[in-house]
Point group: D2
Chain length 328, copies 4
């Protein structure tokens, strides 16, 4: 299940400690201008090392388009994108061969496959999101040509909402060898009404699955989300007017189908599980032990989740747009 | 997209105002005893009219198994389940032919298909969940044979958590011609480690998609959900011990794969959008108007969502159990 | 895998000796008039007992539409079709509980599931094709509205091609307690260019899979088929002209994509494996034994395969037509 | 639709005139030793230029594994394989920008996408089969570990069956600026009973779809194929014995499920449509014209289809083997 989507389908591959990571996009419409320059800026946004709060790793990720273009235009054929891995310091990960990191997929991978790639988390590594962001950049270009724009932002870190407080929280966590979580808001503007299928292919169901499928995400809300559970129906319904709707508590989706209003999604991101602080854990032989996860880990991955969440929303919307062409 | 699942696949059909609703289950293992008596009690739980708080409709829904059995045992062939519709008072819905109900799918269906079934909401009706619950009952029987049990409960209505307060909130809303929302908790016990795929087929992604695909659900949390966004990593990680885990903030899923702990899901249910109180809306000709949604509507559908949420979790887990057989 | 198609999807269910057989169609466009009268005539064509050559069973199969219509029009919602089974003489099949019939799926079902429905072959029964024909009738109505017509015919039985010779061959086989096979030709006229995907979704690949998925079919040809293997390229290519093509050896498909010419398919149907003549076989305990398959079996099922083959071609084309809407 | 398979899924990408061709394999079991050396020999077999009869192009195709391995073992994660394109003489193809080649996908691609890659046929190029062969080599290694071997051979060219006659036919066609077709036989030995699903996922249906999805294939037979249409049932059924079956006219598949006998498939390959002989055709402006397709084209691609057909059979069987794990 490394493929996502029905119509605008992406297939992701690659580990942080193998030769490359990449993605194949199948179903991109023909006739759109596309080059590496459309994708590289999105990748650079998810790269660590651009601010004092984040990890100091330098990932000089250069995207290469391997297929699907003729004279700089898409042909409708699959578009393969690849980024070569450069830094591979497996030595950092030797302790991890023996010990399960709390909050990580180490234990569950071992249970599932009977084997696991302990070097940087393998496919559960954050580096896998590079494939999503690259494919999302292509989806966003397709959407932009149809008048749809997607924007994401950090709206809360460790309970704080102002930029300066957020910076302080992150720096304090870093100094303590700890980490903090937060909330990301993603919005799609200009989306036509009619996207999404009733029943199991509801637009909000697809979005929730896409967002919860990002590592570290533990909650998803559409529109007013959990707040709706505390409202009266008369407070929560969005009245209709001649010009559309009088409010947007529904977050742009009614009965699983887009209403033409902004699509509004909020996701909860847990604190990075890799922390220097000593934690209790178990080794692969069943013995209790302690671990301090070394290496250069982000004390807060919330800002780096933003382009990933944007990408996932773009992929869902592009998929639904193509699906909708079948109906009318 | 009326099919759900990859291995234990269900295909749902039927409208409240057509001859029947039903579901076809494809992929149920051979050799399990099955009869209508395994399914009917789950259907009765989602039926309205069992308490003073709920709607007074009497839906005498009798399930019939049309295929997939020989001598009372499953054969591995598709199991078709059907419930005939009895009460069909389309006359209640005549006003709805012209007016869009706020908070409903009326407008979005019209935009999507250029046609809509105004009688009882068509496929967006709560009656569609009958198919899910019936299929979920079969999945639960399969799971029970593997030591997995699923239980759901109402844990909050309109901000209140005690049974008597909840009853008061619902009766007050009913008296006011209004409605209230709430929160449902669903838990799976006995689930083995190793279920779910990394990347796009994460167990939590599948659960989130399944839950958000239930009508009226606006938020999903796994484990401590949005609370995780306000924690330090050192507070949020579940330490490992010789015997398993020291806590279960993750809700039984790490890196998208089940850990063997209880799987814990919370969902936010919006207040019923059908209310007697007068609301502003628009008719199909674009004119502003008012609407009081008549008929016998539940002032709070949260209790009726419980068996639906249990069913969806059962379907996801049964699907992943079959998927997992491919790996080891 | 009782579901066929990506966009116009059908899910088939039911055994000859259970309560009913049926099919759910998901993805039928909204706004088409549809009633049982559009489907019943196709079902009657596949029914045995209409000619002296065929089996004398009388299957009074009455189709019922359970969902997907409002005021006699499709709504875009799933259309469930059901036929109740009437005659169920399981007593005919008691010998079959113990013995594997040569040429049948008895042995392979037992190996696959560890259990099998010996009554009439269960899902491997010809009665399963009723679901395909019913769904195919709906697809044909959709196609007809787009100017596409599908016709099938028996073009050879036991090596003979004229109607009177064919009748003689069938009667002679019947008298001898034996059976004969033959070849069916199916053609689609009016199909636009551009259907089918390059690589794995080629139109001819989809057709070949659909046809070989009909029980008793052992070969499929597109256009001149095996004859092409004996030609020079200069003989086999269809020259292009101002008005289209100078010939149609390709059978209407080039590079897996329809060319706008007639789509021409031929399928080889093996002789009915159920024969009265004594055959050597094995019982479920591993002992060698003999069997004479009793009951009223068709000495030649080729004519009854014609509507099934038409239905499968209709389903493939309707699926591709909806798929193609995504491209241009 | 550049993805094939449900459980052992491959996604193919790349054009002959882009930077690379490749494939991503998703679902390969963990714990198998794998290196480029397992794949390269299969690729070399499909390479032209190894005999006097074939094209003189030298494609030094070197496969590279980009992901899915740790210490030379598969991890269960996607395996990406890439071959860089080296020779790219687009100049050969300039005439093709304007003229449709008879027997090729030029016209149908143009109709489908409104754009096409005229350089070497784009995705309809034989070079796309490189991805299939590379993925098939991995599937074959998986199958070999389970005791299943696949072998293919040329059994007929232009109606001739002896090697020396076949060589003469090919050389004569080459000298005449023409081409010839033929028949390929592919067999799987050691395959367990029980593979394939009844109804739409029949093993023979999957094989037929896989084979007809190879460019230039116009017919597929399982077992005795079209010959079955001319037999009596008493001649065509394979009698069962204590030890298995007394013959294998069914080609190893009964009711769509493998019987444990050899799986036998024959496919008809049309003569290469690219010929030097002058043919009538049309240009993209609708004018009638003539074309002599230059470049170094194989006068007979039948031998090069052999590894492709083996690969497709391997992919289908590996897919069904994983599917079957769900059942018992």
């Amino acid at each position: 299940m490394n493929t996502f989507g029905r119509n605008f389908r992406i297939t992701s591959f690659g580990e942080s400690h193998g030769p490359a990571v990449g993605v194949v996009i199948d179903g991109c419409p023909a006739g759109m201008a596309l080059s590496e320059n459309d994708i590289q800026p999105m990748l650079d946004r998810r790269r660590p090392g651009n601010s004092p709060q984040s990890s100091s790793r330098q990932e000089g990720d250069r995207i290469e388009i391997l297929s699907g273009l003729m004279n700089g235009m898409t042909t409708g054929m699959p578009i393969a994108l690849v980024v070569r891995n450069e830094q591979q310091r497996s030595v950092d990960y030797d302790e991890l061969r023996e010990k399960f990191r709390p909050g990580h997929a180490d234990f569950t991978y071992q249970e599932k496959y009977g084997i696991r790639d302990h070097r940087g988390g393998g496919r559960s590594s954050g580096r896998e999101t590079l494939s999503r962001v690259a494919a999302g950049a292509v989806a966003m270009k397709c959407l932009a040509a149809r008048g749809i724009t997607i924007t994401g932002s950090v709206c809360e870190v460790h309970g704080k909402t102002s930029p300066s407080e957020i910076e302080n929280e992150i720096l304090a966590a870093k100094a303590a060898g700890d980490s903090v979580g937060g909330i990301v808001l993603v919005t799609a503007m200009g989306c036509p009404a009619g996207l999404g299928d009733p029943v199991f292919g509801k637009l909000d169901a697809l979005i929730a699955g896409a967002m919860m499928g990002i590592g570290a995400v533990k909650g998803v809300e559409i529109g007013n989300g959990f707040e709706a559970a505390r409202k009266f129906g008369s407070e929560n319904n969005d009245p209709m007017t001649k010009d559309g709707f009088g409010s947007n508590r529904a977050g742009g989706i009614l009965g699983g189908i887009s209403s033409g209003q902004d699509i509004v999604v909020r996701i909860a991101v847990k604190p990075t599980p890799s922390i220097a602080k000593i934690q209790k854990t178990r080794d692969i032989h069943g013995n209790e032990t302690e671990i301090s996860v070394g290496g250069r880990h982000d004390p807060c991955i919330v800002p780096r989740i933003v382009p990933v969440a944007e990408a996932m929303l773009a992929l869902v919307l592009m998929d639904c747009l193509l699906e909708q062409r079948k109906y009318r």
